[in-house]
Amino acid sequence: MVEPARRSAWSRFFGRARTRVALAALALLYAGAIYAPLIANDRPLRLDAVHVKEYRAAWRSLVPATQELARWSQFSLVPDVPKFPEEIEREARAVSQRIATLASALSESDRAALGALERAVDHARAGEGGGDLVELARRAQEECRPFDPADPAVGGKVLQSRVSYPLLESLRAVDVFFMVLGPLCIAAVLWSRVRYGSRSSGQPVRWWNFVAVLAIAAAGAFLWELRAGPAPAFASSSYKADVQSGALVVNSVVFPPIAMGFAETNLSESYRPPTWTSAARAHGPRPVLEPEPRSALAPPSNTPIDVHFAEPAADSAWRHPLGTDSVGRDLLVRLIWGGRVSLVVGLVSALLLTVIGTLVGAIAGYCGGLTDLFVSRVIEVVLCFPAFFLILIAVAFTDPSVVPPLFAIAAVIALVGWTGVARLARAEFLRLRAQEFVLAAKALGFSHARILFVHMLPNALGPVLVAGAFAVASGVLVESALSFLGFGIAHPVPSWGALASESHSADHWWLQLFPGFFIFVTVVAYNLAGESLRDALDPRLED
């Protein structure tokens, strides 16, 4: 299926040094974007701790909750009165939750009273009345009193620790899909090398290979979705604060390599330059003089740095390698997470753009005549639209609750920029229409769709792919310009352009330098890849 001409184009593409550099840079950026939750997060990967505060809260509210349930259940056995099944179910669920919380922190032998209470709750749920519910609850509360080191004379149970995986629980199915897809693709390539040895580059890639890889990744994501609960409500978590306040007593904890979240603020560190520069180290933490933007309260000057649990020391050179922003969020973490938005918008917009442009151009080039005239005029009209204005208007005016903003931005960029690809595709299809293989296919009576997509499209793909590569670069640039102006994804989700506009003051050079640098690297990589693709597919260079 892979013709000799195309194989040599493939090797021409990969043989150049700049292609490999570009692809390596892109692989690094995409890996960072896909695995961002596992690289930088304020949730621990594995937490083995005693959830003291949770236990106490459940313990204190056990009796009141049971009293509520008893109140609703008192009429369950009385005939001819309403029975309130939904309220009973609701209260029973609340009590069961508390029982589960208490039971998870106690050893097997200490759970007897809780077990009795649970059975009584089940009776009430089944509509058999809440006879001795409150009595059992009081007994359970007495038995499950937590041991308080401040008041050892009272006695009580020593709580057990529980192992949980908060970070993994916060991953969504989409995240898992891409995390699995990456290694799967690499594994597939390696497997083909192992199986076919040096002949692997000549082996055809069957269509079902793609489908199999995607299906496995999708199955993994689906299973994950079934197993895991709903995504956490807030971007930042309270685990570190809980440890510091004593609500969690930790036995062992494993954090990701950078133990800071992208939405985790730390006002004592606002506007801190990169910690490896002499400015940060020589003068220590900057006094926080600017009032906090939202509450307009100014914290006292010379606030010492508040180092959270599991973070590098306050004077460590690697605490904030790229500095912090106005509320103390680490810039490197936000750049890694921001790549998810910028790269995805660039890619999706380029994909949409290429598909739309190729379809329109193909129809225009293939049909010719009146259709071609009409489509050419449409292309001219769309070209005349003031593109950036239209994108600004469309993005400013889409309702974020109806259309997810990521998709809105990508769709608008695609809808405004497809004309270039359409023109290219039209020229290619016009050229191919006169070729003999097309005439032969027509003579054989193939349907138009088949001729277009099976015979002509693979030959016209060259310039289209090149245009697609450049389209990703321009998509990333446009998205960053939009976020720079404030029209991108809403706070606190970062995007590279938005990060660059956090501060216009010349004192905060790191906030302006580094986000733009990441965009620059991405655009350079895509432009390099596009140029190599163009040289590889240039028909004049073919032997």
């Binding site: 003031p386 660059a500 010349a506 050079w509 620059f520 655009v523």
Partner: protein, 351 residues
């Protein structure tokens, strides 16, 4: 030739109206109420009724509660369809003309004593000179650079220039502006001013000093505006020149014994310039539309910033005016570039 021009001009008019219609619908389908942004809702405060009355008056004045068709016709003109509009449409005749066809884009929503057209005039006086200088700089630098690179193809100069231009081409505009400010502004080398167009005490300067001050303020914005076009043009020029130099007529010219200088700059360059003129089409709309990003970064009160502020304030009059102007300039630019292309290349004229 004349028929071609007339046909293109005739096609421009419905295109322009189509564009204004699409933008109009997009603007009016927006969330966000201009009267709320202007006056606020004042909920719970004692002045909420007064504010509501103000808002109602504002909405009536700008026909915000009328059907979309009426609003579009009001925008198009030449008849004013408002309460104080043309007598034929129920107004009292005090201000009968309004709309694009009457060259009246209305008043700003935010400042009701300022007409949009006059404000656009003021902003154009900032944007047009900057863009003009930027275009001149980029063409004057890019064309010779491209020619030299093509002539000395493969040499160290060519490779260095190609690499440098490639990097320049990939730099995002806002980053270039910010980096230039960091480098040349007060916190860096301190050679150039970075904010606005004039110093604080510019009014007290002598004309010569004023001119110098304005020029100094313009250097960085012009550089930021010009570098992208420069990089792109130079690469296009280089590619075109390489293609032309390989042609037979260049070989003939050399065989005739002409000096290399004449071969390159008289014969080859003229033919290589032809595709470059098609790029001229994008110059005109950029000239008028300005660049929102450059104006945001350098705090210049230009057209780009005007459109952006109008967008933020949901100022329909401003948005429609700037978009219509920009679309008209785009169309004119395309037409001019096509005509120039046809003039330069006899094959198109007679083909």
């Amino acid at each position: 030739m004349l028929k071609y021009c007339l046909r293109r001009l005739a096609w421009m008019v419905p295109t322009l109206f189509g564009i204004t219609l699409v933008v109009f619908v997009a603007v009016h389908a927006a969330p966000g109420d201009p009267s709320l942004i202007r006056f606020g809702s004042g909920e719970g405060t004692p002045s909420s009724e007064a504010l509501a009355a103000e808002r109602a008056r504002f909405r009536a004045e700008h026909l915000l509660d009328r059907p979309l068709v009426v609003q579009y016709l009001h925008f198009l003109g030449p008849f004013d369809l408002g309460a104080s509009g043309h007598r034929w449409f129920g107004g009292d005749g005090s201000d009968p003309w309004h709309g694009v066809l009457a060259l009246d884009f209305g008043t700003e929503f935010q400042r009701s004593d300022v007409s949009v057209l006059s404000e656009i005039g003021r902003r154009l006086r900032v944007t047009v000179p900057l863009s003009l200088v930027a275009v001149l700089v980029s063409y004057l630098v890019a064309l010779p650079l491209g020619v030299l690179s093509a002539v000395r193809r493969g040499s160290a100069l060519d490779r260095a220039t190609s690499f440098g231009l490639f990097a320049l081409y990939s730099v995002p505009t806002f980053w270039a502006g910010l980096v230039l400010i960091l480098l040349f502004g007060a916190s860096g080398l301190g050679w150039l001013p970075v904010i606005g167009l004039h110093d604080k005490d510019a009014a007290a300067m002598s004309p010569a000093a004023y001119a110098m001050d304005t020029a100094a303020h313009c250097i960085l914005p012009v550089a930021t505006l010009a570098y992208g076009g420069l990089a792109y043009l130079s690469r296009q020029m280089r590619g075109g020149m390489i293609e032309v130099i390989g042609q037979d007529y260049v070989r003939t010219a050399r065989a005739k014994g002409l000096p290399e200088r004449t071969v390159i700059w008289k014969h080859a360059l003229r033919n290589a310039l032809i595709p470059v003129t098609t790029l001229f089409a994008s110059v005109l709309p950029a000239l008028i539309g300005g660049s929102v990003i450059v104006e945001t970064v350098f705090a210049l009160p230009g057209m780009g910033l005007y459109a952006y502020e109008g967008l933020l304030a949901r100022d329909h009059n401003v948005i429609m005016a700037t978009t219509t102007l920009s679309a008209a300039m785009t169309l004119v630019g395309i037409l001019v570039s096509d005509i120039v292309y046809a003039l330069l290349d006899p094959r198109i004229r007679h083909g």
